[in-house]
């Protein structure tokens, strides 16, 4: 037992020395996760995007429509960077990518409004830019409702109704929406919490199979085996321990930046999130190890599989497009990815502050992904003894 521990330590030292000889490895391990932390928090500094460029086409151009456009100009998400009388001009600006939406007041609007002939004004959003279009559309809905109501309100005021009565009649049912855990709908909060740990987990998967595969590539696997006295577990622990420690520290740093420095909501307390971060590191290493065991000694195959699956896990985590909306096979597939489980634990713990017992399946899944490769370690032993590096 003691000998095994000593061997593990020797392999760990050997691994640490090897890090120093591979600059690209160090860059990926340190700079990439920290760089992305910097980038994503910078990218989404302002939370929800506001003041998105839009065009106003006022074909009528009367004092009534100008009043309407002034109301529209106060909207949170919309910034009318372009005012024109020609719809074609606005559409061309949209095709050039200068604006995301067009608000159009057709000729004769004022006349129709004054003579009670129900004018129609239109709002065009460019839905190839989904987030921008959704935000502008939401603003627009609110304003369109309000503008219509304002007209009725003026009529009723003139008839001497009280404000309470007016509101009760023009907007009897009010919907109060409560986005739980993130009342300001701050995109940055949830998105950063998915993307930054997700990228770190992708890096972990890749470097796990890289660190193992390089032994075959340099034809040192037999030497490693001798060093471990033929104990495969000593090899796995010894090789992966330095990475576990390093990545856990980086994960904790991310947690501290998010929840302490940037004050992202964290209902469960930072230490708890650090624990889940540690678990996510283990699961990602397990995932990388499992794929390496699937293609033993074929480092390139293992790494290709890691990258193809690892990039896909961002889609299958289900933040922007929910897993529940995907076809069934993809719903099943999402369960093999550590990021999917980590994200659900994050939502349960930090965002909503529920008890962890409601997410026990996800915790169990992360543990399972970490432990599973140990069952297949005989494939590594076999590869060490019988397989050579294959380009």
């Amino acid at each position: 037992m003691l000998k095994a521990l000593r061997n593990t330590w020797l392999i760990t030292l050997r691994e640490l020395r090897a890090f120093g000889r591979r600059p690209i490895f160090l860059i990926i391990m340190f700079l990439a996760p920290l760089g992305f932390l910097w980038m994503f928090t910078g990218l989404m500094q302002s939370g929800l995007p506001t003041k998105l460029p839009a065009a106003l086409v006022d074909e009528d151009d009367t004092h009534v429509t100008r009043q309407l456009t002034r109301i529209l100009g106060t909207m949170e998400e919309t910034n009318f960077v372009m005012k024109t009388k020609s719809f074609t001009e606005a559409r061309q600006a949209m095709q050039r990518g200068e604006i995301y939406a067009i608000f159009r007041i057709p000729k004769g609007t004022t006349e129709a409004a004054l003579t009670q002939r129900q004018p129609v004004v239109s709002f065009y959003t460019n839905d190839t830019y989904y987030i921008a279009a959704s935000l502008l559309m939401k603003d627009m809905r609110k304003m369109s409702e309000m503008a219509g109501l304002a007209i009725t309100r003026e009529t009723m005021r003139a008839r001497g109704a009280t404000d309470e009565k007016i509101m009760g009649s023009i907007q009897p049912i009010v919907v109060e929406s409560h986005p739980l855990g993130n009342p300001h709908l701050n995109y940055s909060v949830v998105l950063s919490n998915l993307i930054v740990p997700g990228l770190l987990m992708l890096v972990i998967m890749l470097t796990t199979s890289y660190a193992l595969g390089i032994e075959w590539k340099r034809n040192r696997q037999k030497e490693l085996y001798k060093l471990a006295d033929g104990n495969i577990y000593v090899i796995i622990v010894g090789k992966l321990l330095p990475q576990t420690m390093l990545y856990t520290l980086i994960f904790w740093l991310i947690d501290l930046v998010f929840y302490s420095y940037l004050q992202f909501p964290c209902q469960c307390g930072i230490p708890r999130m650090m624990l889940w971060g540690f678990l996510a590191v283990l699961a990602s290493q397990g995932f990388g190890l499992l794929l390496f065991e699937a293609f033993p000694a074929m480092m390139r195959f293992a790494m290709s599989a890691c990258s193809l699956l690892g990039v896909m896990q961002f889609s299958l985590a289900g933040f922007s497009f929910p897993v529940s909306a995907m076809e069934l096979p993809f719903q099943w597939l999402s369960n093999i990815f550590p990021l999917h489980h980590y994200f659900l634990i994050y939502v349960n713990q930090a965002l909503n502050g529920y008890e962890i017992s409601y997410a026990w399946m996800n915790v169990a899944a992360l543990l399972g992904i970490s432990i599973l490769p140990w069952l297949f370690s005989y494939r590594l032993t076999d590869a060490i003894q019988n397989k050579e590096y294959k380009a």
Binding site: I28, A113, Y124, D127, T128, A132, L180, L199, F321, A325
Partner: protein, 394 residues
């Protein structure tokens, strides 16, 4: 086999035979661009969330509140999966992830409406996905607005004709038009830029791996000690041409086949696609060749390029609105062809823009292609000198 006379053709043929024999490179330049788009398109093929399960806490239990719930249930976006007697029960269902939202109708709902006061309905959304909030909000607000118009006319404004009723309920009509993606679908928005990103990333991986392979074979040099490898221009163009031509095929496979199979927006003509793909692929190829100069082992390229995909998608401004990307990151993004290419492609293919409308992007792509081409040439000149030095020493 007889070798061609021109050095450029010689290099071209060398590179082509090399990569055809190497299954590792073939995975990235053939399998990845062929299969990955299909996989991605299938993930998002359902386009949007339908019939999201929510639960209702109806404390009012009046005919009007039941009407409200029925209307919400009838929307395409959500379905009322559970009815709970109190909030505690509903919250428990949320925690167990059996429902993704709670609609709460207060006890005095009907009473207040009869009194002519405002009644507040609460909507509590789970934020596991942003789309949950969006569809729930849309479903409930649509129902509320429809009922409001009805209540306003029937109970507060005496009208005589149906037309007057219409006018009173809706003094100004608003029309919402979703341009270029009328269903507001996710695939139509995300897949076109992802296709272009896959092209760039696959090029980087393929070229990177081929470069790593050369370095391993020729003891750290990227060119073989051969008399055909003396002319910088021939080497750079010969090698680039192999990948450029393969990916031109892939680009059209994505823009035509994948696009048609999954019913994605397809407004571009052949000439416009060609006018865009030439500078885009040229810029991507030369960028890949330049960045690959830092690769010494064939597997290194995976480490270097793979995880860039997600950040590049965000830097492009297609997913996160480009107008909200800080200036510093816009500059960082501008050195990658994907930032310009994704936008240009979305506009040409999805919005029917002409090449002239994308002048800025195309110009940037040509400039990037030129700059990366020069950098690559410099790198190869350096390498040729090293190779010559080594042969003299030997």
């Amino acid at each position: 086999m007889k070798r061609p006379k021109f050095p450029i053709l010689h290099v071209w043929l060398d590179e082509l035979t090399d990569i055809v024999k190497d299954e590792g490179i073939l995975i990235f330049i053939i399998l990845l661009p062929l299969a990955y788009p299909l996989l991605y398109a299938m993930i998002y093929d359902t386009e949007t969330q339908r019939e999201l399960p929510i639960c209702v806490v109806d404390d009012c239990m009046s005919s009007r509140s039941r009407d409200f719930v029925r209307r919400v249930d009838a929307t395409a976006e959500v379905k009322v999966a559970e009815r709970c007697t109190d909030m505690a029960q509903a919250q428990e269902l949320m925690r167990r992830r059996e429902v993704f939202g709670i609609l709460r109708i207060p006890a005095e709902f009907d009473q207040r409406l009869w009194r002519g006061q405002q009644a507040v309905v609460g909507l509590y959304s789970d934020l596991t996905s942003m789309l949950y909030y969006k569809v729930e909000y849309l479903a409930v607000i649509n129902v509320a607005q429809e009922m409001n118009r009805h209540i306003k006319v029937k109970e507060h404004q005496a009208t005589t004709t149906r037309r007057e009723e219409q006018l009173a309920s809706w003094p100004i009509r608003f029309e919402e038009v979703k341009l270029y993606n009328p269903a507001g679908g996710f695939a139509a928005f995300l897949i076109p830029p992802v296709l272009m990103l896959i092209l760039q990333q696959a090029l980087c991986l393929g070229i990177g791996m081929s470069m790593g392979r050369s370095r391993e074979r020729f003891r750290g040099l990227v060119i073989p000690p051969s008399k055909h490898y003396k002319n910088t221009l021939a080497i750079v163009l010969g090698r680039a041409l192999v990948h450029f031509l393969i990916f031109m095929l892939m680009a059209f496979y994505m823009a035509v086949c994948v696009t048609r199979w999954f019913g994605l927006p397809q407004l571009a003509h052949f000439t416009e696609l060609l006018g865009f793909f030439v500078p885009y692929l040229a810029a991507c190829t030369f960028m890949a060749m330049f960045w690959s100069s830092f690769i010494y082992r064939r597997e290194d390229c995976i480490l270097l390029f793979v995880f860039m995909s997600i950040p590049l998608l965000f830097l492009s401004g297609v997913s996160w609105p480009g107008a909200s990307v800080p200036a510093f990151w816009q500059v960082v993004g501008s050195v990658f062809p994907s930032t310009w290419g994704l936008n240009a492609y979305v506009r040409i293919q999805g919005m029917g823009a002409s090449l002239g409308d994308c002048r800025q992007e195309l110009m940037a792509l040509w400039i990037l292609a030129g700059v990366y081409f020069l950098l690559t040439c410099l790198f190869y000149m350096f390498e040729i000198r090293k190779a010559v030095g080594r042969t003299i020493l030997e």
